[in-house]
């Protein structure tokens, strides 16, 4: 809907604007030594015609986006539009004045048509300018709103990721493994305690930052898998293939951790024999590819769609990297594969 009709404020502003313009036209007419009555009539007519004629000029202004249209097209288009609308306006006034004179049965000299067209051109240009100012204000308000929404979404995802971090299943199962090991294998029980403490400490520390380096994130994941390997003993093995070039790539905190947990929860723990989780990180030109493969049980693979964890990873990827970050998932012949692509941005590391 045309914004002038969409809000009462805009309609009032539009009407007032043309009333002011009408007064100016009337004053101009007085300056050319017209009679007061004629000048007033001229002012009223020009304002009414303008309000009607320039109303649709908004649409071409909306369509011709200054930031997306080449100047060589934009400027001539605007000039042509100003000429067109100015001429229509001038013609309308010319006939209106003529009509008024005939009704009043007078035959004063009409203003020159050329002058009217010139005036119309100037008024058109001013109107275009005002429309553009209006449009840019609306757009910036919209983009600010969008930005704010993105910020809120990012923080939201952050919080949820942190909460997921304190995965109760993982914690209690780990504690239960420790409890089992205390009598059977005390040194391994101690090792598990240390691994679990390291893991918790790391997650807490990473949780304070918005972004981390890929190597920090992978360290946490290694720690996580080390714990799960004790819990699942021979059922879980992990293979790493990591391109060291990527180690200082910047990613949102705890982006990968949910993928590691998924591989265990929906993959390994559902398999009697367990299997191998493969984590591969490589550079692809300017991009980084992170690929995590885990075996799944084809028989009991429930059509669950994307789990909450995976959806969150995707969302955070998109929020942080925009269109450059993407995720691919496929599942075939018993292997579930998640691929993340994102641009390599080096994170400044302070060694303090």
């Amino acid at each position: 809907m045309h914004p002038i009709l969409a809000s009462r404020t805009n309609l009032i502003a539009y009407t007032l604007g043309w009333m002011v313009a009408g007064v100016i036209f009337a004053l101009l007419a007085i300056a050319t030594e017209e009679s007061l009555v004629n000048s007033l009539a001229f002012g009223v007519l020009t304002a009414i015609c303008a309000a009607i004629v320039f109303f649709p000029l908004y649409y071409p202004c909306l369509a011709l986006k200054p930031d997306k249209t080449h100047t060589a097209i934009l400027l001539p288009s605007l000039v042509a539009l100003a000429g067109l609308f100015g001429s229509i306006w001038a013609t309308a006034i010319f006939f209106a004045l003529d009509l008024v004179q005939r009704i009043r049965n007078e035959s004063d000299q009409l203003p020159s048509f050329l002058n009217l067209i010139l005036m119309g051109f100037i008024v058109s240009v001013i109107t275009e300018a005002i429309y553009y100012i209006y449009i840019s204000r609306v757009r910036s308000a919209e983009s600010e709103k969008l930005e704010q929404k993105l910020r809120v979404m990012a923080r939201d995802a952050e919080l949820r990721a942190l909460r997921a971090q304190l995965n109760p299943h993982f914690l209690f199962n780990s504690l239960n493994s420790i409890s089992a090991l205390t009598t059977a294998n005390p040194s391994q029980a101690r090792e598990m305690c240390i691994l679990l403490s390291d893991f918790l400490r790391k997650s807490l520390r990473l949780g304070e930052q918005l972004t981390v380096t890929l190597s920090e994130e992978l360290d946490l994941m290694k720690n996580y898998f080390a714990i799960e390997q004790i819990r699942f003993s021979p059922r879980l093995s992990v293979e790493w293939e990591i391109d060291l070039e990527t180690s200082c790539a910047e990613i949102p905190t705890l982006l990968l951790q949910p993928l590691g947990e998924n591989a265990v929860k929906h993959g390994i723990s559902q398999l009697i024999e367990g299997g191998v989780v493969r984590v591969r990180v490589e550079t692809l030109g300017e991009n980084v590819l992170v690929q995590i493969d885990n075996p799944i049980d084809p028989e009991t693979e429930a059509p669950k769609g994307l789990g909450l964890g995976i959806r969150q990873v995707n969302q955070r990827l998109a929020t942080f990297f925009g269109a450059d970050g993407r995720m691919e998932i496929n599942s075939s012949s018993g292997i579930y594969r998640v691929k993340l692509f994102f641009p390599m941005m080096k994170k400044e590391v302070n060694d303090e």
Binding site: N173, N176, S179, A180, A184, Q270, T300
Partner: protein, 250 residues
């Protein structure tokens, strides 16, 4: 009762978790651990074969979860659920579990569970004799089903809910009808209905629940009765109240 009077089986996919239970059991001479199972399939087979009195049952396991295992047993042993997290506690008591141990647990807590088992088994022994034919009847859904497990002899089949056309009551059984075939399961239609997502499944008749996605159209037979026509021209009767529920959904 002789000294070793309670036959027990431990079902858990984690070796360490089984080890804890075995250790705690060592002081209970009266309990005879006859088998260990590492997944739901094995558990169903071994339990139905050895008929233990007591089960230590993990909930999250490969193949079948603890609740699904219980559904597929031919009889009702005393069950102690052993799990890491209490999200299933409510459901565990609804299926008449004797106790619910949260990992990790102390030996005192374990002994307490064992004495509960003895009370249940010893007392008037009613708990052991009662055949709970319909476990899910009491399992008010703390989560809706994603699949249904049925047992045909020794073979366990998973029926993804998406495959179902309709479910029909047949005495003590329900007939689960997919495009390929029908499966019988010992359960009542009402108890199954309670565990199904009401946005996907609807009771259209005393004896029929349909999957709404499969419904093509409704035909009126006479003033008081309608026929639901599903894909592949399956025609099922719709009762008056069923019609009202359908109307509400559409």
């Amino acid at each position: 009762m002789n000294e070793k009077s309670i036959k027990a089986i431990v079902v858990d996919d984690e070796e360490l978790a089984r080890r804890v239970i075995k250790e705690h059991l060592a002081v209970h001479q009266e309990i005879d651990l006859v088998a260990e199972c590492t997944n739901g399939f094995d558990a169903v087979k071994v339990i139905n074969e050895l008929k233990p009195d007591l089960l230590f049952l993990d909930i999250q396991m490969p193949k079948l979860d603890g609740f699904e295992v219980m559904e597929l047993l031919d009889y009702q042993p005393a069950v102690i659920f052993v799990t890491a997290y209490d999200q299933h506690a409510l459901r565990a008591f609804e299926v008449h579990a004797v106790d619910y141990l949260l990992k990790p647990f102390s030996s005192d807590r374990f002994d307490e569970a064992i004495s509960r088992v003895k009370t249940r088994l010893g007392g008037n022994a009613s708990a052991k004799i009662i055949q709970v034919t319909d476990i899910s009847n009491i399992a008010k859904s703390d989560m809706t089903l994603e699949r249904i497990v049925v047992k045909d002899g020794t073979k366990v089949t998973f029926i993804p809910l998406a495959d179902l056309d309709y479910i029909q009551a047949q005495g003590d059984y329900v007939l689960l009808k997919t495009p390929e075939k029908g499966y019988l399961k010992q359960q009542t239609l009402t108890s199954l209905e309670q565990r199904l997502d009401p946005n996907r499944f609807l009771r259209i008749h005393r004896s029929f629940i349909i999957q709404l996605d499969k419904l093509m159209r409704l035909e009126q037979k006479d003033t008081e009765s309608w026929v639901a026509v599903l894909k592949r021209d399956i025609r099922l009767p719709v009762s008056k109240s069923g019609y009202a529920r359908l109307k509400e959904k559409m």
